[in-house]
């Protein structure tokens, strides 16, 4: 089988939902079947538009269905206990200048222009995120990472082969806040923090700290988004119960919002909150956006496929909760 070279544009387009890509392709007059695979639609768009990604697709590129984790930078010299809320709670890190970022990136890529996207790594490594693209972004700098993930084994012609697939994810760095917004699974965010980010931060005289989302933040976010609590999972803490975790899901016919129910308060009073699902209305088109807030791993997973505007809205709400 011949391998086909993939452009950065194609990689970025694959972040958007299939139906968005199909709509963009149809509006652009590209002849493509309604049942075409996402891969084929993205390829057709990449071939037609090159680096100029159509705006309709662009607003979903780094949004879509996303998990977001935040990691902030603090001075390298500071020492703190693991899990110290004074360090893990704030969402604002140490400010980094634009020049420092560009110098660090130029050094990373070993070239003068850190935003030159013509070159990229030849090999994507397994289990270790690699920076493949950095470009200026309205919020600061957009990084696109790739990581090879082992998906399992496949048998072909009676021979077993390991199946490895590249996973791509964006990270937005906001230098004025010293904050990385990792738009990937919480697990990828952790990998990033333990590998690439550790080195990059050290180059800036900093270390990275993941931003936690305690239950108090979930409750405040509920208020900021004017949301309903639709599901909640908590763990028993006393070592007596026969149950380890409890999951409570709302019956929408009898309950508008779990958080407003006395019964819910009583039933969850002594549980350790793990995560909750908030439902909120963003617009007429997105009248029920589901956000899974994990107090356990400090991530916000927007489970509805939404454009960038919705992500920014959730981010702004979180910033308000955190007092940024």
């Amino acid at each position: 089988m011949t391998a086909i070279a993939v452009t950065s544009t194609l990689v970025e387009l694959l972040n958007a939902p299939r139906r968005t890509l199909l709509k963009v392709a149809q509006n652009a007059g590209i002849s493509i079947s309604r049942d075409a695979r996402k891969w084929d639609i993205a390829r057709a768009l990449a071939e037609k538009f090159g680096d100029e990604i159509p705006e309709e697709a662009a607003e979903y590129l780094y949004a879509g269905q996303r998990s977001i984790s935040w990691i902030r930078l603090v001075p390298e010299s500071e020492e703190f206990a693991i899990g110290d809320p004074e360090y893990t709670y704030p969402m604002r890190g140490m400010e980094i200048s634009k020049e420092e970022v560009e110098d660090a990136l130029a050094s990373e890529f070993n070239r003068e222009d850190p935003f030159d996207i013509e070159e990229r790594p030849e090999t994507i490594l397994e289990g270790q995120p690699q920076l493949i693209v950095a470009r200026p972004h309205e919020d600061g700098v957009l990084f696109l990472f790739a990581i090879a993930m082992r998906k399992g084994q496949a048998i072909h012609n009676f021979k077993a082969t390991s199946v490895v697939e590249d996973d791509f994810f964006p990270v937005i760095f906001r230098p004025e806040l010293g904050l990385f917004e990792v738009r990937a699974s919480a697990d990828q965010a952790r990998r990033l923090r333990r590998t690439w980010l550790r080195q990059f931060a050290a180059g800036l005289g900093a270390q990275s700290v993941p931003v936690s989302i305690p239950y108090s933040d979930l409750r405040l976010l509920h208020g900021e988004l004017n949301a309903k609590l639709d599901a909640y999972t908590g763990a028993e803490t006393d070592g007596i119960s026969i149950y380890e975790t409890h999951r409570y899901t709302r019956d929408e016919e009898t309950c508008d919002d779990l958080l407003n129910e006395k019964r819910f308060q009583e039933d969850t009073e002594n549980l350790m909150p793990l995560h909750g699902d908030l439902l909120f209305e963003f617009s007429e088109e997105f009248d029920e956006v589901r956000v899974h807030v994990s107090c356990n791993n400090g991530s916000v997973w927007i489970r509805t496929a939404v454009p960038e505007g919705v992500l920014r809205y959730v981010r702004a709400a979180m910033e308000k909760v955190k007092g940024v």
């Binding site: 999972t233 070592g239 149950y243 409890h246 002594n270 791993n297």
Partner: protein
């Protein structure tokens, strides 16, 4: 009694009650709720009780996705920080990289302390008095969801 003395007493009472109720081990937050103090205060007092061999430490690894316990480690065991870990108790079939945030500290009554509490309770029951019984601080929670079905 000074504030610190009161806190100490409340924590000890909570630990006694949980032990009496056959707890296999509890988090600082459970004791904090019973003693009506901050979790950090409870943790400090509980560590003190570990030093006094009333309690022992156990470290639990919880799945970062669904929060279920996937492994337990005694003091001195090596916790696989930074390593890939997988369990069928997790909802995702994919492994995760173990992070410090996945490790929870559980306080387990020592055998000696548990025996002391059992003896105290038995003596109290034998004498037909409640004074030997550990006073309950733990509010009875709502019943299990299954029992709540109409």
């Amino acid at each position: 009694m000074s504030r610190s003395g009161q806190v100490q007493q409340r924590v000890l009472s909570a630990v006694e009650e949980l032990t009496d109720r056959r707890s296999v081990g509890f988090y600082a937050s459970a004791v904090a709720a019973m003693a009506e103090i901050a979790a950090s205060e409870a943790a400090a007092e509980l560590l003190d009780l570990v030093d006094k061999t009333v309690l022992e430490l156990r470290f639990e690894l919880r799945c970062p996705d669904n929060g279920r316990r996937v492994a337990s480690f005694d003091c001195g065991d090596e916790i696989p920080l930074g390593k890939e870990f997988s369990s069928d108790r997790c909802e995702s079939p994919e492994s995760f990289v173990v992070d410090e945030a996945d490790v929870f500290v559980r306080f387990v009554p020592s055998r000696k302390f548990a025996a002391t509490i059992r003896r105290k309770t038995s003596e109290g029951e034998a004498q037909g008095r409640n004074s030997g019984k550990v006073q309950s601080l733990w509010p009875r929670r709502g019943r299990s969801p299954l029992l709540s079905l109409p």
